[in-house]
Symmetry: C2
DNA sequence: CGGGTCGTTGACCGTGATCAAGTAACGTGG
DNA sequence: CCACGTTACTTGATCACGGTCAACGACCCG
C-alpha cells in the first residue's frame, strides 16, 4: 500500500480495499519453494520482505528466471488469466508474503475504478520490464547483460529505499544470476570480473557497489522504468 | 469486440464502451512505421487487419522484435504506464487500425468492472506470452526457437480463424524472424532448412505448413496460451 | 575435521555470428 | 520485351563468444 500510494493519492475506498488484501501473512525460509508451476493458483502475494524469484524449467534441466520480486511487489498478476500457475516461485532469501485470493480483485474492480486503473498500469509496466529483459537476452553480449541486471536491481531497490546509494546486497548465486540473463555460472563469474576490471563495479562480501553508473547505462542502453507512471488518464478518485 | 466476447458474455454497458472505442479507423501500407519509440503516446490501437510488430532498437543497429500483432489484438497496453512510447510499431503488411485515446480507458474503468477485469486479464496473458519468449530466447537453441515462433503464430492465428489447419502465410522476412527470436537472418535460413529436413514443416511461396506439430511442441516444450482464460473471479456483468 | 555449496580459473569445444558470393524474384522504366 | 536495381534467401568459409568440463580454493555448517 505504501508503494501504491507513492504513485497516486488513493481514495478512502481504495485504501480500505488494500488493507483488506494485506491482512494475512506467511513466512518462508531462505531457499524454499512457495509454489510450483502447474498448481492451481488461487492467490496473489504481496511481498512484505525478502527476495524471491519466478522461474520456469526447461526440458534439459536448465532454468530461466523470469522476474525478481522485492518488497512491495505484487506476485501473480501474470497468472491471473490462467487457472494454474505458469511459473515456480522461489524464496531466494527469507521472505514474508501476504497472500490474498484472486477473487479479492473482484472487489477492487467493483468498488474502485481508480485502484483498478493503478493496478492495470503496474501490470502494464511489468510488461515493459519483461520487454527490457527480452532485449537484453536477445541482443546483448554477456557483460552488458550483467550490467543491465545490476542496474535494474539497483533502480528497483531505490523505489522503496530512497536513501540507498549505489551499494546493495545481492543475495543470488551466480548460477541464479545466469539463469536470469541466459548465461552459465562460469560466464557470470567472468563477466563480473570484466565489469570489475573496467572499474564499473566493486564487489565485497555479497555486496555490489556500482562505481560508474553512467558508463554502465551506456553499455546496455538502460532506461529506468521505476520512476513515475502516467496517471493522467485515471478515473477520478471520487468513486 | 468479437475477440473479447469470445472470452466472456459482455454486458450491454461493456459493449457500448467497446463500440465507442472502435469508431475510428486508419490504414497503413506495407512496410510503414505507425509510430516511433519516444513519441508521446496518446492512443491505443485495435488491429482490424494486417500484421504488425513492435520492436526496439539496440545501440549497434540490431533490432529486437518484441511482439507480433494480428487482427483482434490491442496494441499499446504495455505503454499505458508511460507518457511516451517505449517501442516502435511497424506494419509488416498492409494494415488497418482503430486508434482510440488512452483516456477512453477511463470510461471503461468507471462504467464496466467486468470489462476492466477482462482487459486486465488479457494484459496478464500478454505477460505470460512475453515470459515464453524470454524462455525461448534465453535457453533454447536456434532450431527450437524457430519452432517455438512458428507454433506461437499458428496457435494465435487459430483464435480468430478456427478453420485454419496448419498452413499459414508468413509475411515476415527472415531478418525480421531473426530479430524476433534473437538470431541472424543467416541462421534463420539454416534453421528453416533444419526443420524442413527433419520433416517438421514444409514451405512454399511465403506459406508455412506445420507437418508434425506434436514433435515441434516437444522440441520447445510449447504451451498454448491462447485458449480459454480464467474468468471465474470476474465481477458480475450486472454493473 | 569432513562434506557441501559457491566462486574462480584454465583448457577445449561448438553453436551461431560474420563476411562474402551467388541466385532468384520482383518491380521499375526504357 | 528486356535491362536494371533492389530485396530476399541460400550456401560456404571462417571466427569468436560463451558453453562445457574439470580442478581448486574459500567458506560455512555440522
Amino acid at each position: 500500500m505504501q508503494r501504491l500510494s507513492h504513485y497516486v493519492a488513493l481514495s478512502d475506498a481504495s485504501k480500505r480495499c488494500l488493507i483488506a488484501l494485506e491482512k494475512d501473512e506467511r513466512s518462508y525460509p531462505r531457499n524454499t519453494e512457495v509454489y510450483a508451476a502447474g498448481e492451481p493458483n488461487k492467490n496473489l502475494f504481496v511481498v512484505k520482505s525478502g527476495w524471491l524469484y519466478s522461474y520456469t524449467n526447461h526440458i534439459d534441466g536448465r532454468r530461466q528466471i523470469v522476474k525478481l520480486h522485492h518488497p512491495g511487489d505484487v506476485i501473480g498478476f501474470s497468472d491471473l488469466a490462467f487457472t494454474e500457475t505458469t511459473t515456480f516461485l522461489w524464496a531466494a532469501d527469507a521472505a514474508c508474503l501476504c497472500p490474498f485470493p484472486k477473487d479479492g480483485l473482484e472487489a477492487v474492480f467493483s468498488t474502485s475504478a481508480q485502484l483498478s486503473a493503478l493496478l492495470f498500469t503496474l501490470a502494464a509496466r511489468d510488461q515493459v520490464l519483461l520487454i527490457d529483459v527480452i532485449r537484453a537476452i536477445g541482443r546483448m553480449q554477456a557483460r552488458d547483460r550483467l550490467a543491465y541486471l545490476l542496474l535494474d536491481i539497483a533502480h528497483k531497490l531505490r523505489i522503496t529505499n530512497t536513501s540507498m546509494t549505489s551499494t546493495f546486497r545481492l543475495p543470488l548465486t551466480q548460477t541464479e544470476i545466469g539463469d536470469a540473463i541466459g548465461l552459465t555460472n562460469v560466464y557470470v563469474s567472468r563477466s563480473f570480473f570484466n565489469l570489475e576490471k573496467a572499474g564499473y563495479i566493486r564487489r565485497s562480501g555479497g555486496e555490489v557497489n556500482i562505481l560508474d553508473e553512467a558508463a554502465m547505462i551506456d553499455l546496455c542502453d538502460f532506461s529506468d522504468r521505476y520512476g513515475a507512471v502516467d496517471t493522467s488518464w485515471f478515473p477520478l478518485p471520487a468513486n
